[in-house]
Symmetry: C2
Subunit: 450 residues, 2 copies
């Protein structure tokens, strides 16, 4: 049922473009869903992409444009003149148009806007450009359906028909008072089955109306929409006036981006990176953690150098350095991952830190005992029970400490408004490395009577 | 505007429950949104929770039930008799009811079903229980609105009014032929503005109808809904007959769960863990990676022991073991994280492995040179330039190798259908530890002429 993009299809398409075969394109491309067409264009060279793009009807063009991968879209748009770009933007939803314009320089924005023919659309876009990207104002679109509470149903239907032309997906009608303040909601379902002589004020619901303010952060918007299972949320300004709506597709994108960012932060990459970024940008994003890791390594070297005489007497002590640091790191990362996720979900309302630490300590105790016994058994079999005892005891202590730090560090970072996802990476592993080495060699010195 | 749960509110609520103060509850609880009520109940003891729950009107009860945290809901439901549970399930959407029933034993399921009074609802639920949890069949609900293509608009309105009672959110009407096969879609907007004498066949669209099959995986469903920006997708059986629909809220939950799972896998936790799981279950989920880490540590010890004579001559060689292993691990994790994310997005259609490796090699080259020069500089300042040279050269080699392995291992795992998120954790770090140690000591032996 769904279209699937194959290498063969792409080859045929390139051939068709080369021989300017409009009928092949009509049959094989124009009938497709815009998301599929975007997927195809993503794979083409710029000239071919433009060729196909201009074969499309205007409505489809704008849909396809928003589905393109970001860098492909940017490259495509920057090849257009201001006039051409204005034409393309006029067909987009206001939020999408504003997002695209927002990436341009002030001068270029003014130029493009001046070429737009639809003044209302231009005004909406200019208005949206005032909001920060990561706020509800930056996410919202100006296309929504509203009804005044004093309208009768049939007047409402007439007005809605007019408004609905601009609005792709209608989920709910927003009901406003004569000051344009949001007062309630009306479902299409309700309107559909209403008596035409009824007034909107008799039909709409004003119970538990969920809205967001233009200044709310994108994170807050996502939380509200998830919590209340909304497919669209109305946006009001400081006076409670209805100014826009945010739809779920934007929030799904946001949720995925946040998850990506957390995954990368925990993997030691400091800014949101796409795999198609330049080599320099990727390098720069990775360096901070590597530098922290190197600092940790140098501190570790300091710790070990304090035990140099011990190592020269019993060089075998050095053998288990990687085991101790690896296990400290692993346990720390495991403990912090759970805390980071709970924090991201907004849990831990009433300070459950003590309970959480106790639980982590128990888990660490169980795993620590298991691992310590195992490593001692292995050492015993290989006939080195004294060194085995050192590794076993210090491993146990390291596991307990690592679990405690892994739990505490993200909580502390969160308290100081640093993204705790950072903790699962650099902080926890570096700290545990240094501490683990100190514990290991101290136990070694003690048991070998040095 | 939105409700916020405070400690003081909870204390007042507990007082009100204790003195059986219905009017306080009416004013302060019953007016709230069901998602807020669920948030409150999540914080109560079982008896208090039940007390509040049974104060709610029936409709709200079912909404609240589905918003409760999973373990709280399970505890609550398992305290009910089969008859009570049947009453609660009848008010739920079919997919939610099936999810809850699916967690019970066969016997208990039969008992609960036998107590249900609405036969149609019971039949829907029994039918849904046949599908695997992680397929479209397991995700879908039986509540949707359908219209036959030969109906006129006014007949359609009458039928829809009847159907719409069961369906909470109506986005689109699914149009079927006389064999109940899905043939197209009709938006409520379109129906609202249609001439009552028109037939559905003149109104509906059959272009690019996106649907999923009952046997499609939840991952496929999520990809389809995201790609085509759908808030609901119809589900058809093998014969193309319409059997259900899946709404976006279920998919948002799925996306979040997948992101959580990936984050945990990459942090070395082998099954999906919630912070409220038992200590034993958490321990078990963490052990596999710890054991792999320990194995890696033992292998590392083997490698180092091969260079024992070197260490006894120059104990300072041991100082930089943690630096080498940490940097190998960090670089490997960074490289693999990007690959894992690209794979999760379904990118890399046409085998871009060679290009990707080349890019990673370049990034590694840049970072490797920077780090090597830096560490040599530090060693030089501290007056140990020969050891500094060993660390510097081996660090450079380790960074390059780690980047290559970090890129290749997730690609290989993915080829063999193992979740590549696993790679960012255990595989890459362990392999890089062992290899890095070998490189470091080999360079050391060479430069110190041992």
């Amino acid at each position: 049922m769904q279209f699937e993009l194959t290498k063969i299809f792409l080859e045929e398409l390139n051939d068709a473009i080369a021989r300017d075969d409009q009928s092949w394109i009509n049959v094989n491309i124009l009938e497709l869903h815009y998301a599929d067409i975007a997927e195809i264009i993503d794979q083409l060279e710029l000239d071919e992409a433009k060729y196909i793009y201009y074969c499309l009807p205007e409505d489809t063009q704008s849909d396809v444009l928003m589905e393109l991968e970001e860098d492909i879209r940017d490259r495509f748009l920057s090849s257009l003149s201001s006039k051409e770009m204005a034409d393309q933007l006029e067909n987009l939803d206001s939020d999408d148009a504003a997002d695209i314009l927002g990436e341009l320089s002030e001068d270029k924005i003014q130029e493009v806007i001046s070429h737009m023919e639809d003044d209302d659309a231009a005004e909406d876009i200019v208005d949206l450009l005032n909001y920060d990207d990561d706020t509800a104002g930056g996410l919202m679109q100006k296309e929504f359906i509203q009804a005044r509470m004093d309208w009768p149903v049939n007047r409402c239907l007439v007005e809605l028909r007019r408004q609905a032309e601009d609005v792709e997906q209608v989920y709910t009608i927003y009901v406003v008072d004569d000051m344009n303040r949001l007062v309630g909601l009306l479902s299409l379902k309700r309107l559909l089955f209403a008596d035409p002589k009824n007034k909107i004020r008799e039909l709409y619901t004003d119970k538990n109306i969920i809205s967001v303010k233009t200044s709310d952060s994108d994170e807050q918007v996502a939380k509200v929409m998830e919590k209340y299972d909304l497919v669209a949320v109305p946006v009001v300004d400081l006076q409670g006036k209805l100014v826009g709506r945010i739809t779920i597709d934007d929030i799904v994108d946001f949720i995925k981006e946040e998850a990506d960012k957390d995954f990368q932060l925990a993997s030691g990459i400091s800014e949101k990176i796409e795999s198609n970024f330049s080599v320099w940008r990727i390098s720069r994003a990775r360096l901070p953690w590597l530098l922290i890791g190197m600092l940790g390594g140098i501190l570790g070297a300091q710790v070990i150098s304090g035990f140099e005489t011990g190592i020269s007497k019993i060089p075998a002590l050095a053998f288990f350095i990687p085991l101790i640091t690896a296990m400290g790191g692993n346990v720390g990362v495991q403990s912090s991952a759970i805390v980071v996720q709970s924090l991201a979900k907004g849990q831990d309302l009433f300070g459950t830190i003590a309970r959480r630490l106790a639980k982590e300590a128990l888990v660490a105790l169980i795993n620590g005992i298991l691992l310590s016994v195992l490593i001692y058994g292995i050492a015993y079999i290989f006939g080195n029970s004294q060194l085995g005892l050192v590794v076993s005891i210090s491993l146990f202590i390291v596991v307990i400490f690592a679990a405690m730090f892994g739990t505490l560090i993200p909580l502390i970072l969160d308290k100081y408004n640093i993204d705790p996802a950072l903790a699962t990476g650099p902080f926890v592993t570096t700290l545990n490395d240094v501490l683990g080495l100190f514990i290991y060699f101290s136990v070694g010195m003690l048991l070998f009577n040095m």
